[in-house]
Symmetry: C2
Subunit: 332 residues, 2 copies
Amino acid sequence: MPPKNKSPLPPEFELIARYLAPLAAGVPAALGLKDDAAILSLHPDRELVATADALIAGVHFFADDPPDLIARKALRVNLSDLAAKGATPIGYLMCWALPESIDTNFIEAFTEGLRADQAEFGIAMLGGDTTATSGPLTIAITALGEVPRGRAMLRGAARPGDEIYLSGTLGDGALGLSVARGGLPGLSGSERAFLLQRYRVPQPRVQLGMALVGIARAGIDVSDGLAADLQHICETSGVGARLERSRLPLSPAAAAAVQADTGLWETVLAGGDDYELIVTAPPERGAQIKAAARAAKTPIARIGRIEPGAIVAITDEAGTPVSLARGGYRHF
Amino acid sequence: MPPKNKSPLPPEFELIARYLAPLAAGVPAALGLKDDAAILSLHPDRELVATADALIAGVHFFADDPPDLIARKALRVNLSDLAAKGATPIGYLMCWALPESIDTNFIEAFTEGLRADQAEFGIAMLGGDTTATSGPLTIAITALGEVPRGRAMLRGAARPGDEIYLSGTLGDGALGLSVARGGLPGLSGSERAFLLQRYRVPQPRVQLGMALVGIARAGIDVSDGLAADLQHICETSGVGARLERSRLPLSPAAAAAVQADTGLWETVLAGGDDYELIVTAPPERGAQIKAAARAAKTPIARIGRIEPGAIVAITDEAGTPVSLARGGYRHF
């Protein structure tokens, strides 16, 4: 965080006009951020998907993380929730509460991060609220998207016999958090940098989610940890699941980490902050799933199967059930 | 705020299941708050209206205010923004960050406040995010509503010759804040109680806003203060305005306050926190405006006129322009 008052903030309205209004430029729905509300038309064949996630300094990121990366993470964790439903992102409303230590350099870098990700994901700022706080920087974003009517991937849609797929690689985010805290000193510098970047800037699987609409049944993004989020699917769908740990796709850096310390499997399986997609689909859709992943240029791996019952069983290489000390990230 | 850990919070998922999921019960769009997203269908003839406002302890309310009233205010300031566009409220997503001092008694009372206002305004909780914070209680709400396509009341729609109308009474909220801070000791106990209640529980003019769709042109709610919010309409519409202070509707308590101390006119005109509606409409719509107000059981007063130019002129009883030391509430 920059020193206090290094470059003091302009008055609220000027701050909005200078730094936020450009993020809504050219988007009629946002009404130039001048109207306290956004007004959107949806195509009659589409449904609205709305999701909200807040990030707080000291809880979800470090106050001295690069401001543009804080902004992008705040946006991306919300885009990841849209992706898990198969939604096409439209835009977002951002409420942020600024501590006194925030200066214009921070605001410039932060809004530059928003601008970059808006361009990458084809979205705009639609509204929000800027306030001061005596507490830590707090960013609450509501993201809006749209999905063909009745086709969203829901948590409760998994059926026994479905294959379970996971996008990308698992555990990088939680291991990256360890790196940010000074852990994993045995890894190489480039491995540590890779994991840290994955923690700071998750990759929401927006294209993949959109491509899977009508193909996959259930969908969720891995934010609480693979074990906990798969449990969410199973509880909501009234099913169980069986995974083989050896099938889980790991990055070279994560593989090196668990090879050096098998205790880190706990971090990989239950650490969270992955923002990869778990989806389920009947076996006969396997080829379509793979084609969708290729079209979205996103790796996907089959990691297990939905079963009758209510138990999420993860087995290791020897077929022995893996027990996890914790079910996933909890705030309290 | 209750003493720390008097009645500690349950784990996050249990807190959501016990206190928040009931606020989404029976509303398919909310997916039982189990899906990290809400999925809504809009009528093809309707547009979505989305607005977001955050409230922070120590900034927008006092940490020891009754929890149910904090909740209702957080919801109502957002409903007021929907009302200003003429939108019919649908529901809301709430991100809240809880300091350690919050216990289950607080949560129970807070969610009871949400429940009461959901019933009053016919809305449901659609989603959100519950986190811990080292800072003050922070509540960021995104409210969603719908309005007939192309009929929303916009800030930029005022035209010279339009009459300016104001709902309810002005200044109660800002004077109520003075009462909360121990001010206005000269008022009677019931006057002080009335003003305090108006500050704590604003009345969003939802029915009035809906009734004015297709009748009024421009609309805004008074949150920054009459002078500042009328300025917003004028800047966005490229017009000026002329108001007579004597036409402004005051409650008996506010009238008593300004009679005892004419300096309080500043608070009435620029204090904000009114959450009344300012709307403009051509003179020939006067009868329709009054009929809409009657139908919505909401008082409305004609307070001035939109003029060419760019100046917002407020004149006192002698026709002398009133100058305001500040343009409206600013966070920094």
